[in-house]
Structures are given as C-alpha cells and as structure tokens.
C-alpha cells in the first residue's frame, strides 16, 4: 500500500536476539502505556460529556457511531493495505437491515441491530470473496461497483426502501423487554460510546496480536507472507469481513439511535468519507479514525455555515493529505517522535 508509507517496525520482532530481556521488558512497559492511553480515551470522553453544551452532546453520539465505521475501515485500509471504495455498502446494509427490521417486521431493536450487522457481514463476505481475487486499482473499482449496485438497488426497490427520501424509524422505547428510552440524548450517547469502545477494544486486541502482525506484513509484501506459510487470501478476507461487520454495526446503530434511514448513507460519498477520516487521523493507528472523524465532522459543520459547497473542503483536505501528510495526524506523530506504543 503506497498511500501510507509503512511506519517503522513496532518494537523488535519476537525472538530477536539482540536486546534480549531488556527490550522485552521495555516492550511490555510500552504496551502498558499504550493500553492505558487507549482505555483512557473512552473514559475521558465519558467524563467530558456532561460538561459539553447540548449541541455538542448530540454531535458526540454521532461522531462516536461514525468513528466506529471508520475504525472498521482502518482495519482493512490502514493495517491490511486494501483500499476499498465501497464500504458504504456495509454501512447501508446495517442501516437498512436494522431499520427495515423494526419498521416492516416490528422486530425487537436488539434483534434488529443483530440482523443489520449480520446482513452487512454476509454482504462483506460475498463481495470480499470475489473482490479479493483482484488487487490494486481493480480492487478499488470492483468494491466501488458493488457498492454502487447496492445503492442503485435501494433506489430501484423504493417501494420497500423509501428510495431517495428514506424513512423514519420510530423512537425506540423498549429493547429486549427492558425500558430503554432512545428519545434521551444521554442514553443515545451512552450506547454510542459503548459501541465505539467495544470496536476500539477489538481493533486494539487484533492489531497488537498475531493477526495484526500478519496484516501489516500483508500490506508490505504478500509474497513474503506466502513464503512464511500463511494464506494471504484468508487473512485479507478476515480483515474485509471484520471491517464490514463494524461498518454494519455502526449503520444499524445509526438507524436505531437517530431514527433515520436514507440512501445518502449508501452513496460512494460515504465510502470516501471513511477513507478521508482514516487518512486525516492516521491510517494504521487505532485512535486515528476517531480523531479524523471528529476533526472532519466539525470542519464540515463550520464550513456548512458559510457555503453549501462543503464537499469542496473534503476534496481539498484529501488532496492536501496525499501531498503533504500521507501518514495523517497520529501517524505523523508516531513516526516523528517514535511513539511506538501508539499502535
């Protein structure tokens, strides 16, 4: 993946002789710092939340859901080096799966959410199995075309999907037999934070473990990995499906929390936004997607106050990033100051 020059090897490889115990213990120390930092971020968000004005409290919940989507995208793009231009398909699958399950079938919200995630995961497995036969530019176009077909299907079967306008999901009041009032902003925030923290935890555990090491190796050289006896296709498919599942989880949560399902979430624009958020924050950094999502959310929010052409800013930031800071914010910090514990 050449969009993002690979950061330096994170710590010595296991089994490296030089350094021995000393470097291993330093590694464990770094691990501890890194873990506390990543656990501290959701905690800090939770503590800051009551201090925020109403408007920003509402934004916080949205940003956390969208950051979940970006975190999933980062597993595929940042760590495995596969640039998909079609992740809006899985976001949309989660959104429509959960939304339709509630409005058309009257399912319990928890079941509806699971259904949305499952639908997204199934689609990701299908598309991934096909698209991963290609590489590079062909992979981008194939993923984009499948997502475009999904978006057009939403428009075509507008009798069920509401077409361009989408539909409103009634506010959830009970879930799994328990009273759960999603009309309250605080409850929405708590659920969004829980969702994001779960995905953050999963991402953190994966990329620090063997899976993450295999993904990074895949990004740098597929042939080398094959020589070492790993099956590249299996690992790529795993990353693809996991990122699709997280996108679906975010989409399904969005439908239930904010009560709106619309075709715009399935457009190619949302695939590109995921890429943008990850690039801004720093590809292949666990916290980068959250940072990128929050920054771009507020940048677009401010610009929309002045002009309807807010997408201009998206374009300009994309170009500036690939030209000037291909590593993104956290990636640049990680590289410049050798913050190796910042995965």
């Amino acid at each position: 993946m050449r969009t993002v020059p690979s950061p330096p090897e994170k710590g010595p490889l296991p089994g490296g002789r030089s350094g021995g115990d000393d470097s291993a213990s330093r590694r464990r120390g770094g691990e501890l710092v890194g873990f506390s930092l990543h656990a501290a971020v959701p905690l800090a968000i939770a503590l800051l939340y009551p201090l925020l004005p109403d408007y920003h409290q509402g934004n916080a919940a949205r940003i956390l859901v969208l950051a979940t989507y970006a975190t999933g995208y980062n597993l595929l793009f940042g760590y495995t080096g596969l640039l998909s231009l079609g992740h809006a398909l899985y976001l949309g699958a989660g959104l429509y799966g959960a939304g339709l399950a509630v409005t058309s079938f009257g399912l319990d919200p928890v079941l509806a959410w699971l259904l949305g995630v499952l639908l997204a995961g199934t689609l990701a497995a299908l598309v991934g199995a096909l698209a991963l036969r290609t590489t590079g530019v062909a992979f981008m176009i194939v993923t984009m075309m499948f997502a475009q077909a999904g978006y057009l299907s939403i428009l075509h079967w507008n009798r069920y999907t509401g077409g361009d306008e989408g539909f409103v999901v009634p506010t959830v009041r009970r879930a799994a037999g328990v009273a759960l009032d999603l009309g309250s902003g605080d409850v929405r925030f708590a659920l969004a934070l829980a969702l994001y923290s779960c995905c953050l935890g999963i991402a953190w555990a994966l990329v620090r473990g063997d899976t993450g090491r295999v993904w990074l190796a895949l990004r740098d050289s597929e042939e080398r990995l094959e020589l070492l006896g790993h099956d590249p296709f299996r690992h790529k498919l795993l990353a693809f499906v996991l990122s699709g599942l997280m996108a679906g989880a975010a989409g399904a949560a969005y439908a239930l929390l904010f009560g709106y399902v619309g075709a715009s979430f399935a457009t190619i624009q949302y695939s590109i936004l995921a890429l943008l958020w990850v690039l801004v924050g720093g590809a292949a950094t666990v916290l980068g997607p959250l940072l990128g999502t929050a920054l771009m959310f507020y940048l677009v929010d401010i610009v929309s106050g002045y002009t309807t052409a807010w997408l201009f800013v998206v374009g300009a930031v994309l170009v500036a990033l690939v030209l000037l800071a291909p590593r993104g914010l956290l990636g640049t910090l990680q590289h410049r100051y050798r913050w190796r514990w910042l995965p």
Binding site: I141, A316, V319
Partner: protein, 298 residues
C-alpha cells in the same frame, strides 16, 4: 409508430450516445494507458467543457453577435483548452508530485473531483443551462424525422476518432505516446523521450477530449454541475469492458454500450439497467481483467 422507424430512431440515438461516449472514454483510456493511473476526475473535465461552453456562448451573445453558429464554434474552439488548462495545472501541481503512484493518485483525483464540482457549484450555481445548437436543421423523410444537429455530432465525433487513430499510428507524437505506454523506462532511457512532458500532454489531451464531447452534447443536454458523474461511470464501463488501455476495445465497447443502452432501457427500468451495468463491470474485472475484447495485458 411502426417498428421500422422506431428501430431506426433507437439506433440513431444509440449511435449518438456511442459517439459522445467514445470520445470521453478515449480520453480516460489514453490517460490510463500512458500514465497508468485512473483519473476519477475525468467526468469533471467533461462537465467543465459543458459549463465553459455555456459561458463562452453567453459571452459571445453579450458582445452583440446573435448567431448561434458563431457562439457554438467559439465554444467548441475555446472550451476544451479551458478544461485542458485546469487539467494541466492539476497534473503539474498534484499528480506529478505524487509520482503517478496509482493509489495516492486515485485519492487525489477524488479530491480533485469534489473541488472542481463544488467550485463550479459556487461560481456557476445549481441551475442547468442550455447552449443553442449551431443550426436548426431537421431531417425530414416522409416517414421519419430527426434532428440534423444530432447527425452532425455523430459524423464529427467519427471524424475526430479517425484523426486520433491516425495521429497515434502515423505521427511522431503518436509514436512517442505509444512508446511511453509500452515501457516508460525504456522510452526514457533508450528513446531519449522526456516522459514527464508526455505525461502532462496526455493528461491534458484526455481532459480536452472529454470537454469536446461535452461541448457537442450541450445543445442536446443542458450544462449542470453534476453532469460529469454519469459519463464518468459509463466511461469506466466502456474502458473496462473494452480492456484497459486498448483503443480498439474502447471503441467497440462504446458502440456496444451506446447501442444496447437504448434497447436495454426498453426492456428494463433505467435504474435496473444501471445495476446490471455496474455488476457487469465488477464481474469483468474479476474474471476477465483484460476486458472482453482486450488481449492479455503486457
């Protein structure tokens, strides 16, 4: 209407679409073939051509020349260089600095797409605006009538495509382009070709071809800031189905898709036709990456 005239009408409209599509897709295909990059902003150069055609035509009307023919010819001569100038600037300021690496380039051209599209929205506004056809001739056989301008577009596009082919095959410029396409390193080292200049020229030329197609279409469809998205998608379909970088394949695919579009739209809803087309592109790329008509890539 009887079947005969109906089929003739569908064929002619299909040919018109194929002609315009072939010019647009040829631009995309040249850029892909020589620079090995996918220019996602290609549709925006098309849109720039259409919007500047409107702008030039209304300027001509403003200085008191009321002839639509003069306005149209002025637009045809001036709009493509304008779009080309934007493309040239983008190549110099962005693509060259990215070293034409395929993946960063795709991200950058996506950014470029948004910047051009939204820039035009700000300067030109959200309205669709027409340009008058240079002449108002109607072809009237006793059982069939069609716009003479549409026929002229088909002929003009066909001539341009022949010229493009001749330039590629018979001139030194074409030779230089083909040499760079086949092997950039070799062209630079052995042929002494300044490949960076070739890249800049081809990128500009690709944008100008799209702009010419747009000027031709603007008397039929109006100029609008979002009009670049459909030609982009269709050009992708044409270039991929025809085989990336294969000119003959591009032309055959443009004819096939232009002609079949009319027929497919008769049997399927237009959205369903688009769904099938996008799935076709995906499947072709997966199972026949060299395209339906292309040879195995070099």
């Amino acid at each position: 209407m009887e079947f005969g005239p109906y089929l003739l009408l569908a064929t002619l409209e299909g040919l018109l679409m194929a002609a315009v599509l072939a010019l647009t897709a040829l631009g995309l295909s040249l850029v892909f073939g020589v620079l090995r990059i996918v220019n996602v902003a290609h549709g925006e150069f098309y849109m720039l051509g259409a919007v500047s055609a409107w702008w030039i035509a209304s300027l001509v009307a403003e200085i008191g020349i009321s002839s639509p023919a003069v306005a149209f010819v002025a637009a045809l001569l001036l709009a493509p260089p304008l779009a080309g100038a934007v493309a040239f600037a983008a190549e110099r300021l962005i693509l060259r600095r990215l070293d034409y690496r395929p993946e960063p380039t795709i991200v950058a051209t996506i950014g470029l797409l948004y910047m051009i599209q939204q820039g035009v929205l700000t300067l030109y506004g959200p309205d669709a605006r027409p340009v008058r056809a240079p002449f108002d001739l109607r072809l009237d056989l006793y059982w069939f009538g069609w716009s003479g301008y549409k026929l002229a577009v088909i002929v003009f596009a066909a001539v341009l495509l022949l010229v493009a082919r001749w330039v590629l095959v018979n001139t030194r410029a074409g030779l230089v382009m083909r040499a760079t396409e086949i092997d950039t390193e070799m062209a630079r080292a052995v042929g002494g070709i300044d490949t960076r200049r070739v890249y800049a020229a081809v990128f500009t030329l690709g944008a100008m071809l799209a702009a010419v197609a747009a000027v031709l279409i603007v008397p039929i469809q109006q100029a609008h800031y979002l009009m670049g998205l459909d030609p982009l998608l269709l050009s992708f379909v044409v270039v991929i189905v025809g085989g990336l970088g294969s000119l003959r394949g591009t032309l055959v695919a443009a004819l096939l898709i232009g002609l079949s579009d009319g027929i497919v739209s008769v049997f399927f809803a237009p959205t369903l036709a688009k769904i099938l087309a996008t799935l076709l592109v995906a499947l072709v790329l997966i199972f026949r990456p060299q395209g339906l008509f292309g040879e195995r890539s070099r």
